[in-house]
Symmetry: C2
Subunit: 211 residues, 2 copies
Protein backbone atom coordinates (compact mmCIF):
# COMPACT_ATOMS: atom_id res chain seq x y z
CA UNK A 1 0.00 0.00 0.00
CA UNK A 2 1.31 3.40 -0.99
CA UNK A 3 1.97 6.21 1.44
CA UNK A 4 -0.83 8.32 0.01
CA UNK A 5 -4.22 6.95 1.01
CA UNK A 6 -7.12 8.71 -0.62
CA UNK A 7 -9.76 9.70 1.98
CA UNK A 8 -7.92 7.88 4.77
CA UNK A 9 -9.73 9.95 7.38
CA UNK A 10 -13.16 9.15 5.95
CA UNK A 11 -12.34 5.45 5.64
CA UNK A 12 -11.20 5.31 9.27
CA UNK A 13 -14.31 7.14 10.43
CA UNK A 14 -16.65 4.79 8.57
CA UNK A 15 -14.75 1.68 9.69
CA UNK A 16 -14.76 2.83 13.32
CA UNK A 17 -18.45 3.67 13.36
CA UNK A 18 -19.31 0.32 11.81
CA UNK A 19 -17.22 -1.61 14.33
CA UNK A 20 -18.48 0.41 17.31
CA UNK A 21 -22.08 -0.19 16.21
CA UNK A 22 -21.50 -3.92 15.67
CA UNK A 23 -19.23 -4.86 18.58
CA UNK A 24 -19.51 -1.98 21.01
CA UNK A 25 -17.24 0.99 21.61
CA UNK A 26 -15.29 -0.53 24.52
CA UNK A 27 -14.74 -3.81 22.67
CA UNK A 28 -13.25 -2.24 19.52
CA UNK A 29 -9.50 -1.59 19.24
CA UNK A 30 -7.56 0.84 17.07
CA UNK A 31 -5.75 -2.00 15.19
CA UNK A 32 -9.19 -3.47 14.32
CA UNK A 33 -10.38 -0.12 12.99
CA UNK A 34 -7.22 0.39 10.95
CA UNK A 35 -7.41 -3.13 9.55
CA UNK A 36 -11.04 -2.75 8.51
CA UNK A 37 -10.16 0.52 6.75
CA UNK A 38 -7.24 -1.17 4.97
CA UNK A 39 -4.76 1.13 6.72
CA UNK A 40 -2.10 0.86 9.43
CA UNK A 41 -2.42 1.73 13.10
CA UNK A 42 0.28 4.32 12.45
CA UNK A 43 -1.94 5.99 9.85
CA UNK A 44 -4.83 5.99 12.34
CA UNK A 45 -2.78 7.95 14.85
CA UNK A 46 -1.74 10.43 12.15
CA UNK A 47 -5.40 11.53 12.06
CA UNK A 48 -6.81 10.82 15.52
CA UNK A 49 -5.46 11.01 19.08
CA UNK A 50 -7.52 8.00 20.16
CA UNK A 51 -10.55 5.92 19.21
CA UNK A 52 -12.88 8.37 20.92
CA UNK A 53 -11.84 11.26 18.70
CA UNK A 54 -12.60 9.34 15.52
CA UNK A 55 -16.27 9.80 16.44
CA UNK A 56 -16.01 13.57 16.72
CA UNK A 57 -13.79 14.93 13.96
CA UNK A 58 -16.76 14.99 11.57
CA UNK A 59 -18.47 17.38 13.96
CA UNK A 60 -15.68 19.90 13.48
CA UNK A 61 -16.40 19.87 9.74
CA UNK A 62 -20.15 20.24 10.31
CA UNK A 63 -19.52 23.16 12.66
CA UNK A 64 -17.55 24.98 9.97
CA UNK A 65 -20.17 24.24 7.33
CA UNK A 66 -22.90 25.63 9.57
CA UNK A 67 -20.90 28.80 10.30
CA UNK A 68 -20.34 29.25 6.54
CA UNK A 69 -24.09 28.89 5.86
CA UNK A 70 -24.82 31.66 8.35
CA UNK A 71 -22.07 33.94 7.06
CA UNK A 72 -23.24 33.52 3.45
CA UNK A 73 -26.99 33.87 4.15
CA UNK A 74 -28.84 36.81 2.54
CA UNK A 75 -28.18 39.95 4.59
CA UNK A 76 -31.75 41.16 5.17
CA UNK A 77 -33.30 38.17 6.98
CA UNK A 78 -35.14 38.56 10.29
CA UNK A 79 -33.91 36.31 13.15
CA UNK A 80 -36.53 33.61 12.52
CA UNK A 81 -36.00 33.80 8.75
CA UNK A 82 -32.28 33.36 9.30
CA UNK A 83 -32.86 30.36 11.58
CA UNK A 84 -35.16 28.80 8.97
CA UNK A 85 -32.74 29.53 6.14
CA UNK A 86 -29.77 28.04 8.01
CA UNK A 87 -31.64 24.94 9.19
CA UNK A 88 -33.04 24.28 5.72
CA UNK A 89 -29.61 24.62 4.12
CA UNK A 90 -27.94 22.48 6.80
CA UNK A 91 -30.65 19.82 6.57
CA UNK A 92 -30.23 19.47 2.84
CA UNK A 93 -26.46 19.72 2.49
CA UNK A 94 -25.08 18.44 5.80
CA UNK A 95 -27.54 16.06 7.41
CA UNK A 96 -29.87 14.59 4.78
CA UNK A 97 -27.14 12.45 3.14
CA UNK A 98 -25.94 11.11 6.52
CA UNK A 99 -29.05 9.75 8.17
CA UNK A 100 -27.89 6.16 8.63
CA UNK A 101 -24.46 7.22 9.88
CA UNK A 102 -26.14 9.65 12.30
CA UNK A 103 -28.43 6.93 13.62
CA UNK A 104 -25.44 4.64 14.27
CA UNK A 105 -23.44 7.51 15.72
CA UNK A 106 -26.21 8.39 18.17
CA UNK A 107 -26.59 4.79 19.28
CA UNK A 108 -22.83 4.43 19.89
CA UNK A 109 -22.62 7.72 21.80
CA UNK A 110 -25.66 6.81 23.91
CA UNK A 111 -23.94 3.55 24.94
CA UNK A 112 -21.06 5.22 26.84
CA UNK A 113 -21.17 7.92 29.53
CA UNK A 114 -17.81 9.40 28.48
CA UNK A 115 -18.99 9.65 24.89
CA UNK A 116 -22.25 11.27 25.98
CA UNK A 117 -20.35 13.94 27.89
CA UNK A 118 -18.00 14.53 24.96
CA UNK A 119 -20.92 14.81 22.52
CA UNK A 120 -22.65 17.42 24.66
CA UNK A 121 -19.46 19.45 24.82
CA UNK A 122 -19.09 19.25 21.03
CA UNK A 123 -22.68 20.38 20.65
CA UNK A 124 -21.90 23.34 22.87
CA UNK A 125 -18.86 24.20 20.75
CA UNK A 126 -21.12 24.11 17.68
CA UNK A 127 -23.56 26.47 19.34
CA UNK A 128 -20.71 28.81 20.28
CA UNK A 129 -19.49 28.78 16.70
CA UNK A 130 -23.01 29.63 15.50
CA UNK A 131 -23.20 32.47 18.05
CA UNK A 132 -19.91 33.83 16.70
CA UNK A 133 -21.15 33.61 13.09
CA UNK A 134 -24.32 35.50 14.08
CA UNK A 135 -22.17 38.10 15.84
CA UNK A 136 -20.24 38.66 12.60
CA UNK A 137 -23.58 39.56 10.99
CA UNK A 138 -24.13 42.25 13.62
CA UNK A 139 -26.65 40.33 15.77
CA UNK A 140 -26.31 41.43 19.42
CA UNK A 141 -24.80 38.89 21.80
CA UNK A 142 -27.90 38.01 23.80
CA UNK A 143 -30.14 37.59 20.74
CA UNK A 144 -27.40 35.59 19.00
CA UNK A 145 -27.16 33.23 21.97
CA UNK A 146 -30.90 32.61 22.08
CA UNK A 147 -31.13 32.26 18.28
CA UNK A 148 -28.31 29.71 18.20
CA UNK A 149 -29.76 27.71 21.07
CA UNK A 150 -33.29 27.79 19.67
CA UNK A 151 -31.95 26.66 16.28
CA UNK A 152 -29.93 23.85 17.91
CA UNK A 153 -32.99 22.77 19.86
CA UNK A 154 -35.20 22.73 16.76
CA UNK A 155 -32.57 20.82 14.80
CA UNK A 156 -31.87 18.25 17.52
CA UNK A 157 -35.54 17.55 18.04
CA UNK A 158 -36.09 17.29 14.28
CA UNK A 159 -33.13 14.92 13.80
CA UNK A 160 -34.36 12.68 16.63
CA UNK A 161 -37.80 12.30 15.09
CA UNK A 162 -36.44 12.00 11.54
CA UNK A 163 -34.17 9.13 12.62
CA UNK A 164 -36.95 7.45 14.62
CA UNK A 165 -39.37 7.88 11.74
CA UNK A 166 -37.03 6.01 9.44
CA UNK A 167 -35.99 3.44 12.03
CA UNK A 168 -39.51 2.44 13.10
CA UNK A 169 -40.71 -0.62 11.20
CA UNK A 170 -43.77 -0.26 9.00
CA UNK A 171 -46.79 -1.51 10.95
CA UNK A 172 -47.98 -3.44 7.89
CA UNK A 173 -44.75 -5.43 7.51
CA UNK A 174 -43.64 -6.93 10.83
CA UNK A 175 -40.39 -8.23 9.26
CA UNK A 176 -39.28 -4.71 8.33
CA UNK A 177 -36.89 -4.61 11.29
CA UNK A 178 -34.76 -7.17 9.48
CA UNK A 179 -34.80 -5.27 6.20
CA UNK A 180 -31.77 -3.38 4.93
CA UNK A 181 -31.91 -0.11 6.83
CA UNK A 182 -29.40 1.45 4.43
CA UNK A 183 -32.11 1.71 1.75
CA UNK A 184 -34.59 4.38 2.87
CA UNK A 185 -38.16 3.85 1.75
CA UNK A 186 -39.42 6.20 -0.96
CA UNK A 187 -42.04 7.70 1.36
CA UNK A 188 -39.55 8.80 4.05
CA UNK A 189 -40.13 12.41 5.02
CA UNK A 190 -37.11 14.65 4.52
CA UNK A 191 -35.46 16.22 7.58
CA UNK A 192 -36.60 19.70 6.61
CA UNK A 193 -40.23 18.69 7.24
CA UNK A 194 -39.33 17.75 10.83
CA UNK A 195 -37.40 21.00 11.24
CA UNK A 196 -40.51 23.01 10.37
CA UNK A 197 -42.65 20.85 12.66
CA UNK A 198 -40.26 21.52 15.53
CA UNK A 199 -40.19 25.27 14.86
CA UNK A 200 -44.01 25.39 14.64
CA UNK A 201 -44.32 23.50 17.89
CA UNK A 202 -41.80 25.75 19.64
CA UNK A 203 -43.69 28.79 18.37
CA UNK A 204 -46.99 27.39 19.64
CA UNK A 205 -45.50 26.63 23.07
CA UNK A 206 -43.88 30.02 23.71
CA UNK A 207 -46.80 31.95 22.21
CA UNK A 208 -49.42 30.11 24.24
CA UNK A 209 -51.22 28.86 21.13
CA UNK A 210 -52.97 25.49 21.14
CA UNK A 211 -50.57 22.70 20.11
Amino acid sequence: MGRWNPDARGRLERAALELFAERGFAETTVPQIAKKAGLTTRTFFRYFADKREVLFSGEDDMREQMAAIIRDAPPDLSPIQLIEYALEAASTTIFEPRRDAMRDWRAVVASDEGLRERALRKEQLSTESTIAALGERGVDARTAELMARLATLALQSAVTHWIEDAASPDAASPDAAGADRAAPAAQDKPLVVFVHESLDRMRAIVSGQPL
Copy 2:
Protein backbone atom coordinates in the same frame (compact mmCIF):
# COMPACT_ATOMS: atom_id res chain seq x y z
CA MET B 1 -14.90 16.27 67.19
CA GLY B 2 -17.83 13.91 67.52
CA ARG B 3 -18.84 11.37 64.92
CA TRP B 4 -22.02 13.22 64.06
CA ASN B 5 -21.27 16.30 61.97
CA PRO B 6 -24.26 18.49 61.30
CA ASP B 7 -24.52 19.45 57.62
CA ALA B 8 -21.18 17.78 56.79
CA ARG B 9 -22.16 17.56 53.13
CA GLY B 10 -23.00 21.27 52.90
CA ARG B 11 -19.83 22.25 54.74
CA LEU B 12 -17.70 20.17 52.38
CA GLU B 13 -19.46 21.64 49.35
CA ARG B 14 -18.95 25.20 50.51
CA ALA B 15 -15.31 24.60 51.49
CA ALA B 16 -14.55 22.92 48.15
CA LEU B 17 -16.16 25.65 46.08
CA GLU B 18 -14.29 28.33 48.00
CA LEU B 19 -10.93 26.59 47.57
CA PHE B 20 -11.54 25.80 43.89
CA ALA B 21 -12.45 29.45 43.26
CA GLU B 22 -9.40 30.75 45.17
CA ARG B 23 -6.67 28.28 44.19
CA GLY B 24 -7.99 26.50 41.14
CA PHE B 25 -9.66 23.12 40.78
CA ALA B 26 -6.50 21.19 39.83
CA GLU B 27 -4.48 22.74 42.67
CA THR B 28 -6.94 21.82 45.43
CA THR B 29 -6.71 18.49 47.24
CA VAL B 30 -9.30 16.50 49.17
CA PRO B 31 -7.36 16.82 52.48
CA GLN B 32 -7.37 20.62 52.03
CA ILE B 33 -11.14 20.61 51.47
CA ALA B 34 -11.75 18.40 54.49
CA LYS B 35 -9.49 20.55 56.67
CA LYS B 36 -11.22 23.77 55.65
CA ALA B 37 -14.59 22.19 56.46
CA GLY B 38 -13.28 21.05 59.86
CA LEU B 39 -13.79 17.41 58.90
CA THR B 40 -11.64 14.39 58.03
CA THR B 41 -10.70 13.09 54.60
CA ARG B 42 -12.51 9.92 55.59
CA THR B 43 -15.71 11.91 56.11
CA PHE B 44 -15.24 13.55 52.70
CA PHE B 45 -15.19 10.15 51.03
CA ARG B 46 -18.29 9.09 52.92
CA TYR B 47 -20.17 11.71 50.90
CA PHE B 48 -18.28 12.08 47.61
CA ALA B 49 -16.42 9.72 45.29
CA ASP B 50 -13.86 12.39 44.37
CA LYS B 51 -13.31 16.14 44.36
CA ARG B 52 -15.13 16.49 41.06
CA GLU B 53 -18.37 15.08 42.45
CA VAL B 54 -18.48 17.58 45.31
CA LEU B 55 -19.31 20.18 42.64
CA PHE B 56 -22.29 18.26 41.33
CA SER B 57 -24.21 16.69 44.21
CA GLY B 58 -26.12 19.95 44.72
CA GLU B 59 -27.42 19.59 41.17
CA ASP B 60 -29.09 16.32 42.07
CA ASP B 61 -31.02 18.14 44.82
CA MET B 62 -31.99 20.96 42.43
CA ARG B 63 -33.17 18.42 39.88
CA GLU B 64 -35.50 16.84 42.42
CA GLN B 65 -36.77 20.22 43.58
CA MET B 66 -37.57 21.21 39.99
CA ALA B 67 -39.39 17.94 39.34
CA ALA B 68 -41.43 18.48 42.51
CA ILE B 69 -42.37 22.02 41.42
CA ILE B 70 -43.71 20.65 38.12
CA ARG B 71 -45.57 17.78 39.75
CA ASP B 72 -47.22 20.11 42.28
CA ALA B 73 -48.12 22.88 39.81
CA PRO B 74 -51.84 23.69 39.31
CA PRO B 75 -53.36 21.14 36.91
CA ASP B 76 -54.96 23.45 34.35
CA LEU B 77 -51.96 25.46 33.09
CA SER B 78 -51.15 25.77 29.39
CA PRO B 79 -47.59 24.75 28.37
CA ILE B 80 -46.24 28.32 28.50
CA GLN B 81 -48.08 29.02 31.76
CA LEU B 82 -46.54 25.89 33.24
CA ILE B 83 -43.05 26.94 32.07
CA GLU B 84 -43.55 30.38 33.61
CA TYR B 85 -44.92 28.93 36.84
CA ALA B 86 -42.03 26.47 37.21
CA LEU B 87 -39.32 29.00 36.35
CA GLU B 88 -40.76 31.59 38.74
CA ALA B 89 -40.97 29.07 41.56
CA ALA B 90 -37.48 27.70 40.87
CA SER B 91 -36.01 31.21 40.63
CA THR B 92 -37.40 32.20 43.99
CA THR B 93 -36.85 29.04 45.98
CA ILE B 94 -33.85 27.34 44.35
CA PHE B 95 -31.67 29.92 42.63
CA GLU B 96 -32.26 33.36 44.15
CA PRO B 97 -30.57 32.50 47.48
CA ARG B 98 -27.55 30.98 45.72
CA ARG B 99 -26.37 33.66 43.32
CA ASP B 100 -22.85 34.06 44.64
CA ALA B 101 -22.29 30.32 44.93
CA MET B 102 -23.61 29.90 41.38
CA ARG B 103 -21.25 32.57 40.07
CA ASP B 104 -18.25 30.83 41.70
CA TRP B 105 -19.50 27.43 40.55
CA ARG B 106 -19.76 28.59 36.94
CA ALA B 107 -16.28 30.11 37.01
CA VAL B 108 -14.76 26.90 38.42
CA VAL B 109 -16.56 24.68 35.90
CA ALA B 110 -15.53 26.95 33.01
CA SER B 111 -11.88 26.56 34.03
CA ASP B 112 -11.67 22.81 33.33
CA GLU B 113 -12.68 20.87 30.22
CA GLY B 114 -13.62 17.74 32.19
CA LEU B 115 -15.84 19.79 34.49
CA ARG B 116 -17.49 21.49 31.51
CA GLU B 117 -18.36 18.11 30.01
CA ARG B 118 -19.67 16.84 33.32
CA ALA B 119 -21.78 19.96 33.85
CA LEU B 120 -23.39 19.60 30.43
CA ARG B 121 -24.24 16.00 31.16
CA LYS B 122 -25.78 16.99 34.51
CA GLU B 123 -27.80 19.67 32.73
CA GLN B 124 -29.06 17.02 30.33
CA LEU B 125 -30.05 14.78 33.24
CA SER B 126 -31.99 17.71 34.71
CA THR B 127 -33.78 18.23 31.42
CA GLU B 128 -34.62 14.52 31.26
CA SER B 129 -35.99 14.66 34.79
CA THR B 130 -38.14 17.66 33.81
CA ILE B 131 -39.37 15.79 30.72
CA ALA B 132 -40.35 12.86 32.95
CA ALA B 133 -42.20 15.17 35.37
CA LEU B 134 -44.09 16.70 32.44
CA GLY B 135 -44.93 13.23 31.19
CA GLU B 136 -46.46 12.40 34.57
CA ARG B 137 -48.79 15.36 34.02
CA GLY B 138 -49.96 13.83 30.75
CA VAL B 139 -47.94 16.06 28.39
CA ASP B 140 -47.05 14.13 25.21
CA ALA B 141 -43.38 13.18 24.82
CA ARG B 142 -42.46 15.52 21.98
CA THR B 143 -44.10 18.57 23.55
CA ALA B 144 -42.57 17.68 26.92
CA GLU B 145 -39.11 17.52 25.37
CA LEU B 146 -39.46 20.91 23.70
CA MET B 147 -41.02 22.48 26.80
CA ALA B 148 -38.22 21.21 29.05
CA ARG B 149 -35.52 22.37 26.66
CA LEU B 150 -37.13 25.77 26.10
CA ALA B 151 -37.46 26.22 29.86
CA THR B 152 -33.83 25.19 30.40
CA LEU B 153 -32.72 27.61 27.69
CA ALA B 154 -34.71 30.49 29.18
CA LEU B 155 -33.39 29.72 32.66
CA GLN B 156 -29.75 29.34 31.59
CA SER B 157 -29.83 32.58 29.64
CA ALA B 158 -31.54 34.36 32.53
CA VAL B 159 -29.05 33.05 35.09
CA THR B 160 -26.10 34.14 32.93
CA HIS B 161 -27.36 37.70 32.66
CA TRP B 162 -28.46 37.82 36.29
CA ILE B 163 -24.96 36.80 37.43
CA GLU B 164 -23.28 39.21 34.99
CA ASP B 165 -25.61 42.00 36.04
CA ALA B 166 -24.56 41.57 39.66
CA ALA B 167 -20.88 40.99 38.86
CA SER B 168 -20.42 44.00 36.57
CA PRO B 169 -18.97 46.95 38.50
CA ASP B 170 -21.06 50.08 38.71
CA ALA B 171 -19.85 52.52 36.05
CA ALA B 172 -19.96 55.34 38.59
CA SER B 173 -17.64 53.60 41.08
CA PRO B 174 -14.54 52.22 39.32
CA ASP B 175 -13.32 50.58 42.55
CA ALA B 176 -16.45 48.44 42.81
CA ALA B 177 -14.53 45.41 41.48
CA GLY B 178 -12.69 45.29 44.78
CA ALA B 179 -15.84 45.58 46.86
CA ASP B 180 -17.31 42.67 48.77
CA ARG B 181 -19.21 40.74 46.13
CA ALA B 182 -21.04 38.73 48.79
CA ALA B 183 -23.19 41.78 49.61
CA PRO B 184 -25.58 42.34 46.68
CA ALA B 185 -26.60 45.94 46.10
CA ALA B 186 -30.18 46.82 46.99
CA GLN B 187 -31.02 47.67 43.38
CA ASP B 188 -30.07 44.23 41.97
CA LYS B 189 -32.81 42.88 39.74
CA PRO B 190 -34.22 39.53 40.86
CA LEU B 191 -33.68 36.48 38.65
CA VAL B 192 -37.36 36.27 37.78
CA VAL B 193 -37.08 39.56 35.85
CA PHE B 194 -34.36 38.03 33.67
CA VAL B 195 -36.43 34.88 33.20
CA HIS B 196 -39.30 36.92 31.77
CA GLU B 197 -36.92 38.92 29.57
CA SER B 198 -35.52 35.66 28.15
CA LEU B 199 -38.99 34.23 27.53
CA ASP B 200 -40.12 37.47 25.85
CA ARG B 201 -37.05 37.48 23.64
CA MET B 202 -37.50 33.81 22.69
CA ARG B 203 -41.14 34.53 21.85
CA ALA B 204 -40.15 37.50 19.69
CA ILE B 205 -37.51 35.46 17.85
CA VAL B 206 -39.66 32.45 17.00
CA SER B 207 -42.73 34.58 16.20
CA GLY B 208 -40.83 36.91 13.89
CA GLN B 209 -41.70 39.97 15.99
CA PRO B 210 -39.27 42.86 16.23
CA LEU B 211 -36.84 42.40 19.12
